[in-house]
């Protein structure tokens, strides 16, 4: 029962994202036979070192979506304070409410069923532009972002070129 609710909702979101796609985002299930695994392409926001890049990510939805948030993981090399070295994305919208003992994040920023895949992807896009320094997932990247911005931007730009096979 819960699974069919989740499937319906995901199918609906897929449809919305196809007919009215936000700028710089392409997302959909890997196969419609399994609506719980999606692949998304996010383009790097303008006026950032990520500009021009395309960043692929996998989203895996729980069976009780939209009650619980999906997990998202970049499937490319990405150098960012809020992305774990294994690609997992650490962002408040992907955290269920009541899960943050440190209370870094406001409840309104966290996951709730009124959020959507589109909102997640847009949030991730703005996260690329503005890293959140408070709880870094990649400590080395965070330190470099703070202390050696030039080097950070150079690594990011290199990643953009490599990702596009240049």
């Amino acid at each position: 029962m819960a699974t069919s609710v989740a499937s319906k909702r995901l199918f609906h979101e897929y449809r919305t994202l196809t007919t009215d796609p936000p700028d710089g985002i392409t997302a959909g299930p890997l196969s419609e036979d399994d609506l719980f695994t999606w692949e998304a392409l996010i383009s790097g926001p303008a006026d950032t070192p990520f500009e021009g890049g395309i960043f692929p990510a996998t989203l895996v939805f729980p069976k009780d979506y939209p009650l619980a948030p999906p997990t998202m993981r970049f499937t490319c090399d990405i150098w960012h304070p809020n992305v774990y070295p294994n690609g997992a994305v650490c962002i408040s919208i992907l955290h269920p409410p009541g899960d943050d003992p440190m209370m870094y994040e406001k409840a309104s920023e966290r996951w709730s069923p009124i959020q959507s895949v589109e909102k997640i992807l847009i949030s991730v896009m703005s996260m690329l532009a503005e890293p959140n320094d408070e709880s870094p997932a990649n400590v080395d990247a965070a330190r470099m972002w703070r202390e050696r911005r030039d080097e950070y931007e150079r690594i990011v730009r290199d990643g953009v070129r490599k990702g596009l096979g240049l």
């Binding site: 196809t18 895996v60 490319c76 596009l164």
Partner: protein
């Protein structure tokens, strides 16, 4: 006379039957004993059984994850695909101890090449061109975007700019694939142009 009958009655027919039945059961027990004990010891061998179908399932979802790490994780959580998936996504798998050498499944031999390559520290993520097999669709540098969009319409009746929702499942999958490819190729083209412009500027600076 009566004395002579006593030895005969010490072994009467019911007793004889009882001995036969007990003997039969003893033989049965002896014969069936060894195989059953062997099978039970096999199933309760110390290393838990690994379901390679499940390992494959996870490995296909996350080609970059180390197979040994997947087996290690699944062995510890009792073969739970969802839990392993969750762990890969949330914080990555633990590195198994070097002593952990899972037996390789027999059906993995055809894909042994891929497994060996994954182990051999190649870059974890191929670029998007390789990944989506787009090398044939890259237009040579210097071609105008007009020509490119013309060659893009290899599939007829596609209006790239106008998103539509097909009622056909396979058509939808194709549309999504096409949008993905367009996005990647477009980004690559723009970046190439930008770099060409930049090198031109640099050259100009050099001359000046």
């Amino acid at each position: 006379m009566s004395n002579g009958e006593i030895p005969a009655t010490t072994l009467n027919i019911p007793q004889l039957l009882l001995v036969l039945v007990l003997g039969f059961l003893a033989v049965r027990w002896y014969l069936s004993g060894p195989p059953s004990s062997a099978s039970s010891s096999r199933s309760s061998s110390r290393t838990p059984r690994i379901d390679y179908a499940r390992v494959d399932q996870v490995a296909q979802m996350f080609p970059q994850a180390d197979r040994r790490a997947i087996i290690w994780d699944m062995q510890r959580n009792g073969g739970n695909v969802a839990a392993t998936t969750e762990r890969i996504l949330s914080r990555g798998l633990d590195v198994p101890p070097p002593s952990f050498q899972p037996p390789l499944p027999p059906q993995a031999t055809p894909s042994g090449g891929a497994g060996a390559r994954a182990n051999a520290k190649t870059p974890a993520h191929p670029d998007l061109i390789t990944r989506y097999n787009l090398s044939s669709k890259i237009t040579p540098t210097g071609s105008s975007p007009l020509v490119d969009s013309g060659s893009d319409t290899s599939t007829p009746a596609s209006t790239p700019s106008k998103p539509s929702w097909s009622t056909n499942k396979t058509e939808r999958a194709l549309q999504l694939q096409r949008r993905r490819e367009e996005m990647i190729l477009e980004a690559r083209r723009k970046l190439e142009e930008k770099e060409r412009a930049k090198t031109a500027v640099d050259k100009g600076k050099g001359k000046a």
